[in-house]
């Protein structure tokens, strides 16, 4: 793959204005699929199902099969539309998008075309410094996911060079809502940050609605980022690219930055941008060209004749509107107050995309400061080292349990970090890791005193110093005891016991 020339980001911004657009696919976590009664792999109960075990006739396009619409998925979609500030169409329709691909059982995708269920909305997106940007939403429509292809053979496991591919239709028919923004102007140098914050906000919204697991790394949330540049002062929009496969919030930010730099280099050199899809590569931090737009993109949309219009009643819409959770921006303001964080502390959490994690950890019993410390500190550090999202590593319940062990004196901070690693490594709950690894603080005074006596016997002069009032000399004994206890002792208690001993 030829390496792209990149222009310095600030220089690019001086010459060009970036215009952004996003298509985010949200997998809904209903019990069953969009158009069949098959269990939904995007529901928490069905993660990791064996291939082709969650398939009904229509999911694999069996002859004679017919789709039926999942009532719950429609309600979820309306709620999401409302949360995006959209109008709900009094009548919307499904349409067939026709194209051949082996992961598509019917060789058409049931989607919505000119009559989406939700349209014309906007959301407020908060940036790292607290600035709020309004992102205009064009539409949100219901559709179905495709199956999963695994490419076998060749060197990379990618589609290029593969000898054959295997198809699993478990994911085929998973309910999706596709959220499409209008062009976003005025992002300027904050474009990469807006991209990330937009996806984070969508994630916050769907999590607060409880309609998706919203795990980017699992594909519950998938973002295609459209980027185009136009020379300063030009009215006409530039040619855009659509970058796919960006499956973390960090990648969204990096991909947008990369495309701005890449396109700017081409345009500044007098070149032209090809309208195409591009693929984001997490490993190299770059995009590569995909399929150019062509007249083969003739999807021959037409109204899905097997399904009928969706015409939600005003009562239903108002009922769902009344049940909406508070909007993310308002929620942030409330949480900040409730948690008593400083601006900086709160932004640390929010910018890390950790609001939900911290909130759930607090709900599970941890103090706000402790919850914040774990998520923005050790867990984020470990996630970054691994190129993953903090939320993938550990659950809020486990973090709260871990902090409870610290609060109870069972674990020191240092031991707790070891336990965390055990939890992340899949060794079980914090308590299970403590038990299995024998990591608990030794709180048995008898054992500590035995170790103290050994240490004092080895350094008799220290006892004298302590008795002479030089209490800081106890440090040497503490160190020896901690070493003997392999760190599993509470240093403060050891100190107390040494002073007691010396006083005897």
């Amino acid at each position: 793959m030829a390496k792209d020339k990149l222009m310095d980001f600030d220089a690019a911004l001086e010459m060009f204005e970036p215009v952004l657009g996003f298509e985010v696919h949200v997998e809904l976590n209903t019990r069953t699929k969009m158009f069949s009664g098959a269990a939904n792999p995007a529901h928490a109960d069905h993660h990791g199902a064996e291939p082709n075990t969650l398939v009904a006739p229509v999911d694999m396009g069996l002859p004679g099969s017919l789709p039926t619409v999942n009532a719950e998925a429609v309600k979820y979609s309306i709620s999401l539309g409302l949360a995006l500030g959209c109008s709900i169409a009094p009548s919307s329709r499904f349409a067939r998008k026709n194209y051949f691909y082996p992961d598509l059982g019917k060789n058409y995708q049931i989607s919505q075309y000119d009559e989406p269920i939700a349209f014309e909305g906007s959301i407020e997106v908060e940036l790292s410094d607290g600035e709020v940007v309004t992102v205009p939403i064009e539409r949100a429509h219901m559709e179905e996911d495709a199956g999963k292809l695994t490419h076998v053979g060749g060197s990379t496991g990618r589609i290029q060079g593969a000898e054959y591919s295997l198809v699993d239709y478990n994911r085929a028919g998973v309910p999706l809502v596709e959220i499409v923004t209008k062009p976003i102007f005025g992002a300027e140098h904050r474009a990469p940050e807006i991209a990330k914050a937009y996806v984070a906000t969508i994630r916050d919204i769907v999590l607060s609605l409880g309609i998706s697991e919203a795990r980017l790394e699992r594909g519950n949330l998938r973002c295609d980022a459209n980027v185009s540049l136009r020379p300063r002062g030009q009215e006409k929009l530039g040619t855009r690219t659509e970058t796919k496969n960006v499956n973390s919030m960090r990648s969204v930010e990096r991909a947008v930055r990369y495309e701005i730099q890449r396109q700017a280099a081409i345009l500044a050199a007098g070149g032209t941008i090809t309208q195409e899809t591009r693929h984001w590569h997490e490993d190299t931090g770059s995009t590569s060209p995909g399929r150019p737009k062509s007249d083969a993109d003739d999807y021959r949309y037409f109204p899905e004749p097997d399904l009928l219009p969706v015409a939600p009643s005003t009562e239903l819409i108002e009922q769902l509107r009344a049940a909406l959770p508070e909007p993310p921006a308002a929620r942030r303001r409330r949480l900040k107050t409730e948690w008593g964080f400083t601006d900086l502390e709160f932004q640390d959490v929010a910018n890390g995309g950790l609001l939900v994690e911290v909130e759930e950890t607090i709900a599970a019993g941890a103090a706000p400061a402790a919850a914040r410390k774990w998520w923005t500190g050790e867990i984020t550090r470990l996630a970054n080292a691994d190129g993953r999202e903090p939320g993938e590593l550990v659950t809020p319940t486990d973090v709260a349990a871990l902090q409870a062990l610290v609060d109870a004196g069972t674990l020191t901070d240092k031991l707790a970090r070891q336990v965390l690693e055990g939890v992340i490594a899949g060794e079980g709950t914090p308590q299970e890791v403590v038990d299995a690894r024998g990591l608990a603080v030794v709180s048995d005074d008898g054992a500590l005193l035995a170790a103290i006596d050994d240490a004092l016997a080895a350094q008799p002069d220290v006892l004298e110093k302590i008795r002479d009032g030089k209490v800081q000399a106890a440090g040497a004994i503490i160190g020896a005891v901690m070493k003997a206890m392999r760190g599993q002792a509470d240093a403060a208690r050891v100190r107390e016991l040494i002073i007691e001993r010396a006083a005897q």
Partner: protein, 507 residues
């Protein structure tokens, strides 16, 4: 002893209920008849190898005093467009040769639950595209009245099976006349229900907004009895109508004995002039009208100015929907696969679809792809959908004035095999009278009106009623049927030439 193949399903059901005949005996008689004549007729693509077991089970249950449905134990032929778990389902196409469905079509499941005995799967034009059954990938079906002639299509197999006394009942599907036109050319009865009246689940889709499954039989009552079994709401089909339907058998019985023709307002379509029909067809039609009039029916001229656009609209909507419905036959999950050495999956799909589809299927897929493609949608598919509205308005206006509309079921009697096969446009015009019902979703029935005086072949008369009024068609159809059978001195099919049983049979 009674020849159980010659009597109606209703009469057979009576014998079964009375214990005079067992289902095994009746089923065996039909299997024997199939073995004797189907080598010539070729109505069946597959004959069940366990029909006798199914029949024996029904006999056992009956003997045990179990409450069985009104037509339990009666044999049934099933159009191959309907998927079945125990027999291959090919829809007449090579691309599905040997395909075994893991589930039964709803109508098949209901037929089984009602104790009907599936005899086998009947021949059809490939994916139900055709009016002659010549486009079956497995060879044509022949008309029992004249083996050189077509049995109609696409459901030529079901109609011929019934006409040749190989089965008393059959299931068909009707997208533009595929139940009614075969009934017309074989001297049998067939009804296309109100769209949504019978589940489409498990019917291999041709054109989703037009397809409807329905009964095929030799008498109106028999169709009604089968319709009672297969009809009604099915949650697996979103377009299925959720409502209570009256007993169609009761309607047919009422029509046969009562005076429903008295005062009945019967609409004749001004825009379908006699000149458009073969003289023998037209004459038979006029004779039926006169017979109804003599019983007190009022023949009224109605206007349906948009019927003439029906064929054009139909040949846009059908190919468009079919091009999408048939995309699933791609060699990945089921069906034929043609290997392309060194080729990509795209090459394999394209080669498979080239080899697996016959010429008419390709023609319609390409036509439908064109009608939907960017830049043409509004002019073609969009306009055709508007014609549907106009035809619905024609029907609404007419039904404000009349109880039923009546037309000849098709313009001509059975044509010769091969006569129109290279002229798709001529073939398409065959569906002129049947198509409007599919476009508007209203029910239609074809019953025999007699033999054409010019060629001695069967002619059918079609009645159309407003949506949901299928019972009215059974009532009126049974009334005219009773009149005509009376006048003929027996069923029309008694006049069909006897088929020569062949040594050893076909199977």
């Amino acid at each position: 002893m009674t020849d159980t193949t010659r009597i109606s399903a209703a009469a057979l059901a009576d014998l079964l209920a009375g214990g005079e005949v067992s289902s095994v005996e009746a089923t065996q008689a039909h299997l024997d008849r199939i073995a004797a004549v189907d080598g010539d007729i070729h109505a069946f693509l597959h004959v069940s190898d366990h029909a006798l077991d199914v029949a024996a089970d029904i006999d056992r249950r009956r003997a045990a005093g179990e409450e069985l449905g009104p037509i339990a134990g009666v044999p049934l032929a099933i159009k191959d467009v309907l998927v079945t778990t125990d027999m291959p389902s090919t829809s007449g196409s090579k691309i599905l040769e040997g395909y075994m469905s893991p589930y039964d079509a709803t109508v098949v499941a209901r037929a089984r639950a009602a104790g009907l005995v599936p005899l086998g799967k009947t021949n059809m034009d490939e994916f139900a595209m055709g009016s002659s059954t010549e486009y079956s990938a497995y060879g044509p079906t022949r008309n029992p009245w004249d083996l050189d002639r077509i049995p109609g299509g696409s459901g030529g197999g079901s109609a011929a099976a019934v006409a040749a006394f190989e089965a008393p009942l059959a299931l068909g599907s009707d997208t533009g006349g595929s139940i009614r036109q075969p009934a017309h050319v074989t001297g049998t009865v067939g009804l296309k229900p109100t769209y949504g009246g019978v589940s489409r689940y498990g019917a291999i889709a041709l054109a989703s907004s037009l397809d409807q499954v329905g009964p095929v039989s030799r008498t109106v009552l028999d169709s009604a009895l089968l319709h009672d079994v297969i009809g009604g709401f099915d949650p697996h089909d979103a377009t299925s109508i959720d409502r209570e339907w009256p007993s169609f058998a009761a309607a047919a019985r009422e029509g046969a004995r009562g005076d429903v023709l008295k005062g009945l307002r019967v609409g004749v379509v001004r825009e379908l002039p006699d000149s458009g029909f073969q003289p023998g067809v037209s004459a038979s039609f006029r004779a039926s009208l006169a017979a109804m009039e003599a019983q007190g029916a009022e023949i009224v001229e109605v206007s349906a100015p948009h019927f003439e656009y029906g064929v054009a609209a139909y040949y846009l909507i059908l190919p468009a929907e079919a091009s999408s419905n048939l995309a699933k036959f791609d060699s990945v999950r089921f069906g034929m696969r043609v290997d392309v050495p060194g080729g990509t999956v795209e090459d394999v799909m394209a080669a498979t679809r080239d080899a697996g589809f016959g010429p008419e299927v390709k023609r319609r897929i390409i036509l439908g792809t064109y009608a939907l493609s960017a830049g043409y949608y509004d002019a073609y598919y969009g306009s055709a959908q508007k014609v549907r509205t106009l035809i619905q308005q024609d029907f609404a206006a007419a039904f404000a004035d009349v109880d039923v509309i009546v037309t000849p079921s098709a313009p001509t009697t059975a044509f010769r095999i091969g006569e129109k096969i290279d002229d798709p446009l001529q073939m398409y015009l065959n569906d002129l009278t049947t198509i409007p019902a599919n476009l508007a979703g209203v029910p239609g029935i074809s019953i025999p009106s007699g033999l054409a005086e010019d060629d001695g072949l069967p002619v059918g008369i079609q009645f159309l009623a407003p949506a949901y009024e299928d019972a009215r068609l059974y009532r009126v159809g049974a009334a005219l049927e009773a009149l005509l059978v009376d006048a003929w001195g027996g069923p029309l099919l008694d006049r069909a030439p006897a088929l020569v049983a062949r040594e050893g049979g076909a199977f």
